[in-house]
Amino acid sequence: MPDSSPIYARSQSQWPSKLQSGIVLAVTTLTHPPGRFGPRPRTIGLIQLTDGSKVMGHILGSSMIGQRVRPRLQLSCVTGEGLRLYDVAYEPLAAKPALRTQPFPGYVLALTGPSGVGKSTISNLLMQVSAPYVVKVPILTTRGRKSGDDGEYRYVSKEKFQELMGKDALVATAKIPSHTDDRWYGYRRADIERIWRQGRIPVVITEMHLLQGLAHSYGRRSILSFGLLPPGKSRRAMLSHLLRRLRTRGRETEEHIADRLKNAERDLAFFDERKDLFDHFLVNEDLDVVIEMVKKNVPGLAEA
């Protein structure tokens, strides 16, 4: 395998059936696993899943025979060609080591794009079609409640936000400049790690600063990152498309729209500058196509 894309693709088709809890039948720890899995010892178990089938799987942390485990999708290895291979790993349910001590506890599905590109629509649709596997991470913000908000925000005061930052409770923060007031946005560590503990995939609808913050906190390898672009052959065409959408949405004043457009311009430039922060770029021309592309590229969601 594993440098062979067709084998990888076939292996990917097995993920939905592997996403079950199970019991460890046998376990071993390889002191020196094959090179592509990195230098750390790797624990592998033969696991009997709930439906009676058996799989060979990577066990996160240490485990013992008879222990119950639950599935978690995560980056398995990076091949010599740079192909990032995801696979279902299993997490022991009892005597679980603290997440913070693990170098790579799970991964975050990130959707990044300028305002108006359709991030919220896509994520809402993704939640509908893949509800058991993905959970949206709430965004902490210092801005006030707005009529179009649909529950993805947690509203806190600036003081509270600063306090959480001081306690290292936020994994990523960003100050978004605005013509009226600077607003802070961020993700709470506890929110993301709670989703991991449930064996699910945290989804963040994010922007460039927060994406960089996440990559900094958890490591670039822990982010499965999608860049969403508006349709259009040139940056100008893309921006004009965004402007149309923001105006059609009718949630903001022209001043706010001008702010957003300025930020969007920077976001589009950011896509070019920091290509390394993205695994896939998707053009939001047809919502169904985008959802299919996301599902296809997210381990375990293809059959969801």
Partner: protein, 379 residues
């Protein structure tokens, strides 16, 4: 066997790290040794079967039939057989089929493997070809890992201790001291085994057979006779991946091949005096004894305890030193086992011996029973 097949010649290289020798050099050396002292000449060989698993990966060489044929002056027809670590015994089985069918009368069977030309990581990856590439490998598993899983389950089910398991390699190393062809002719204590570096928990370095270069060859014939006759050649297969097996602590392919070999030879297990089993890892040596029927499930460690104490019983087990101490150039092993069984029967005057060779985690298994006809005449 539907007609008598005799082992008329045998020979091997010493197993070890032969950096200066090529795949062909090793084949040549083993074939020459096998042909020396046979009642036939090289020109009587009308077919060659060559066993090899890894040459494409470890030696950048395929087409071994042609290479093997070129070592004899008359370039007889030749073909290659691959069945992972069981390739050697499957080549013997293939040769038997040609001999029994009458398509050949005298066959040279060569097993050759040259594993030290590449890095440990590369050879480990190549050996994983013997497992299921889509069920076993993606998790990061290696062969020591597969047998680590098997050992962990065996210890869980039967309460085998680390100290007990260490007796297996200690016995094999001691027995190899008398074998001039063994890779390791040094004695080790069970404590040394228990303290050796961890490879795949609970297996340690000295639980694992080494990476080796080597070749072994035999000449089998229906035309020429010798005191050694093949009494049975049987094979069996199981699911390729251990994921699909009902049990990790028993190998049904061994049980099946053994039962059919005993039927073919019309023998009972008690008739077997010399046994060479496929101890690629120490835990495999224990499971083999149970599957062959020489010990009850979970009880085979008693055999090794007795061997460690120096007790000699009616059965010799891996007298050569087994794969652990002789070395394990994978495709040469099955043929080397038959050679060792023959030597033991000739030395002791016992009548029947068994060679048990498997591929992967016993996804394929071949068993040969050899009869010492001189022992029959004494009786």
């Amino acid at each position: 066997m539907n007609q008598p097949i005799h082992l008329i010649g045998s020979g091997q290289t010493r197993f070890g790290e032969w950096w200066g020798k090529s795949l062909k050099d090793l084949m040549d050396e083993a074939a020459n040794a096998a042909l020396t002292g046979t009642p036939c000449t090289a020109l009587d060989i009308d077919m060659i079967v060559v066993a090899n698993m890894l040459a494409e990966v470890t030696n950048e060489q395929a087409h071994l039939g042609s290479m093997a044929s070129s070592i004899l002056p008359h370039h007889p027809p030749a073909l290659r057989v691959e069945s992972a670590c069981g390739s050697g015994a499957f080549a013997l089985h293939t040769a038997c089929a040609f001999l029994e069918s009458g398509r050949a009368q005298t066959v040279l069977v060569i097993g050759v493997e040259k594993m030290t030309d590449v890095s440990a990581d590369d050879v480990s990856s190549a050996l994983m070809g013997a497992a299921d590439s889509e069920k076993d490998r993606p998790s990061g598993l290696t062969f020591p890992g597969i047998f680590g899983l098997i050992a962990s389950r065996y210890m869980h089910e039967y309460g085998l201790t680390r100290e007990d398991l260490s007796l297996v390699s200690a016995v094999h190393h001691r027995q190899a001291m008398e074998n001039p062809f063994a890779q390791f002719r040094s004695s080790i204590t069970p404590e040394t085994v228990s303290r050796s570096p961890l490879i795949a928990h609970p297996l340690r370095l000295l639980d694992c057979s080494p990476v080796s270069d080597g070749a072994a060859a035999v000449v089998l014939s229906t035309k020429f006779v010798s005191p050694l006759r093949l009494a049975a050649s049987q094979t069996s297969t199981d699911h390729l991946s251990v994921v699909d097996r009902l049990s990790l602590t028993s190998f049904p392919a061994t049980q099946d091949a053994c039962e059919r070999a005993l039927q073919e030879s019309e023998l009972h297990l008690a008739d077997i005096s010399a046994l060479e089993t496929h101890d690629c890892f120490s835990i495999a040596a224990l499971i083999n004894l149970e599957d062959l029927g020489f010990a009850d499930p979970g009880d085979s460690i008693r055999v090794y305890r007795r061997l460690y104490e120096g007790e000699t019983g009616p059965l010799s087990v891996n007298r050569s030193g087994g794969l652990k101490a002789c070395g394990h150039p994978v495709s040469a092993t099955g043929i080397k086992q038959l050679i060792d069984v023959g030597k033991q029967l000739t030395t002791t005057g016992d009548r029947f011996g068994m060679a048990h060779n498997f591929g992967g985690a016993c996804a394929t298994c071949a068993i040969h029973i050899l009869e010492n006809l001189d022992a029959r005449s004494i009786l």
